[in-house]
């Protein structure tokens, strides 16, 4: 079976700082895979590099194709999308315009309407606020908009970076439920999370990052029971 995503020996440098040091990972079709680790472990850099948003070295295969030389927009065309850290919605555009930009690659008007309805059904809040500028949204609403925006292109693999950051626990639960539903509808997910407990609950496998390296990997159920992980990340 061919993996949806296969990353080998990924390296990211910011000047003198070596943020990602030879990370390798893979994601199979239909999975939810989690990247866990502390702040600064290299999770965001890894996801940004997979999307092509920052410079990186190493091999990145998506749907069996080498994409490491591709521009981000080419990767988006192939079915890769990202919900970046802190949502990064377009602040001076309305909610609807943000979703329209997310559907930039959708040429068919009918398909666009369907997707928009689909997103509005998942996040009724966005429908209510569609004429509002994105900068007026709350933190949680911005995250919803960022998810909705990435869904407009119906990605095959969705990268989700620290979705729970700064959100109220109740909202985190709600959004994780939505992620599970999206996964059931056929979207493969690679999520990075500081909320280790939650991440291990919804994922099937996980990679633990520390100082830019993968220090552990395995089925999430096993990692949950791992003594070191319980101490370091679950506070048990």
């Amino acid at each position: 079976m061919r993996s949806v995503l296969e990353v080998q020996n990924l390296n990211v440098r910011y000047g003198e700082i070596h943020a990602v040091k030879g990370v390798s990972l893979r994601v199979e079709k239909g999975e939810i895979v989690a990247l866990i680790g502390a702040n600064g472990a290299g999770k965001t850099s890894t996801l940004s590099a997979i999307m092509g948003m920052i410079r990186a070295e190493g091999s990145v295969k998506f749907m069996g194709k080498d994409i490491e030389r591709f521009s981000p927009w080419k990767r988006a065309q192939m079915g890769l999308s990202i919900v970046p850290e802190r949502a990064r919605v377009f602040p001076n555009m309305t909610v609807l315009e943000n979703l329209e930009v997310g559907a930039y690659l959708v040429k068919d008007k009918k398909v666009f309407k369907e997707r928009l309805e689909w997103v509005y059904d998942i996040f009724p809040r966005l429908r209510e606020r569609q004429k509002q500028l994105a900068l007026t949204l709350s933190g949680g609403e911005k995250q919803m908009l960022a998810i909705g925006r990435s869904l407009m292109n119906k990605p095959k693999l969705l990268l989700i970076d620290e979705i729970s950051l700064g959100l109220m626990p109740k909202l985190v639960d709600e959004i994780f439920q939505i992620l599970i539903k999206l996964n059931e509808s056929g979207i493969t997910l690679l999520i990075s999370e500081q909320n280790t407990k939650k991440a291990l609950e919804i994922s099937s496998r996980a990679y633990v990052l520390q100082n830019g390296r993968v220090v552990k990997e395995g089925p999430s159920g096993e990692l949950k029971e791992d003594e070191e992980i319980r101490k370091a990340y679950l506070g048990v």
Partner: protein, 285 residues
């Protein structure tokens, strides 16, 4: 009334020039000083094609298209290569480029003022105590049309929305499938074509075109983008007219000592002191 008309005409030209600067600053955060050189190029090309063909409209369109292409060239051969450097690098390059452009124009077209005499055969509009000359009619109507088209482009088309998204967050826009290279090139094309329009219009209005005609414009346009809130298009439009009215009214007010160019800077310094984010703030990511 006459003062209002004069201010509107002046403001129109400020706005046309500032649109390109605002688009480019908004997307790339580059202060594109050489834009004033692009404006001068537009004026010279317009004059040259008018002399060759005798058809003003053809000359105007040719000038806008070619100047637009020159603008894209400035982006792809110069700015694109230094985007990852600190912002001071493209700024210094831009200043050098502007000076080099002026010298180049001097070599090609000579150092002296060349007349740009145009009779469109339209009658001046005369009212009680005011006259709108044919050239003023030309400027006001072309600016009006340009602004309407620009508004439709930015708000009703996919390309316009892609440009707005790029101005808000260039990298994110790319990750959503927008070919950022193409959008930035288009912004340079559009901004440069509008600068060419402004150059031709001013050439006709003042009846001369010369290599250093961009000097005054280079700093005026800055005042407009600072007032307009760094990268906000509607802000730049409003700011262009505020500036032209401030200048025209204060100059008309007898006894005011400062020349009009000093007024522009006085306004900018005051705004920067009390409202450093400009009059119309945009949110940043």
């Amino acid at each position: 009334m006459q003062i209002v008309i004069n201010a509107l005409v002046l403001g129109s030209v400020y706005v046309l020039i500032s649109i390109g600067l605002t688009l480019i600053y908004g997307i790339l955060r580059i202060l594109h000083i050489a834009h004033a050189g692009i404006y001068t190029l537009g004026a010279f090309l317009g004059l040259t094609f008018y002399a060759l063909t005798g058809n003003f409209w053809l000359a105007l369109i040719l000038s806008m298209v070619l100047t637009g292409i020159a603008g894209v060239g400035v982006y792809s051969y110069i700015y694109r290569r230094v985007l990852s450097k600190e912002r001071i690098v493209p700024l210094v390059i831009s200043i050098g480029l502007f000076i080099a452009m002026q010298d180049l124009y001097r070599l090609i077209w000579g150092a002296y003022k060349k007349p740009f005499a145009l009779d469109l055969g339209i009658n001046d509009i005369k009212g009680k105590g005011f006259v709108i000359t044919q050239h003023q009619i030309l400027i006001l109507s072309l600016t009006g049309i340009s602004l309407i088209l620009l508004y439709l482009l930015m708000n009703k088309t996919k390309l316009g929305k892609a440009m707005k998204a790029c101005a808000d967050d260039l990298v994110m826009a790319g990750a959503l499938g927008i070919n950022v290279e193409r959008v930035v090139s288009f912004a340079f094309f559009l901004g440069s074509a509008l600068a060419a329009l402004a150059g031709v219009l001013i050439g006709v209005y003042e009846n001369n075109v010369y290599p250093t005609m961009g000097d005054e414009v280079s700093y005026k346009a800055f005042v407009v983008i600072v007032l307009g809130g760094f990268g906000s298009l509607s802000g730049a439009v409003v700011a262009g007219f505020i500036l032209s009215f401030a200048e025209t009214l204060l100059v008309a007010w007898k006894g005011f000592l400062l020349p009009r160019d000093a007024i522009a800077f006085l306004v900018m310094i005051l705004v920067l002191m009390f409202k450093p984010e400009g009059l119309f703030r945009r949110a940043s990511t």
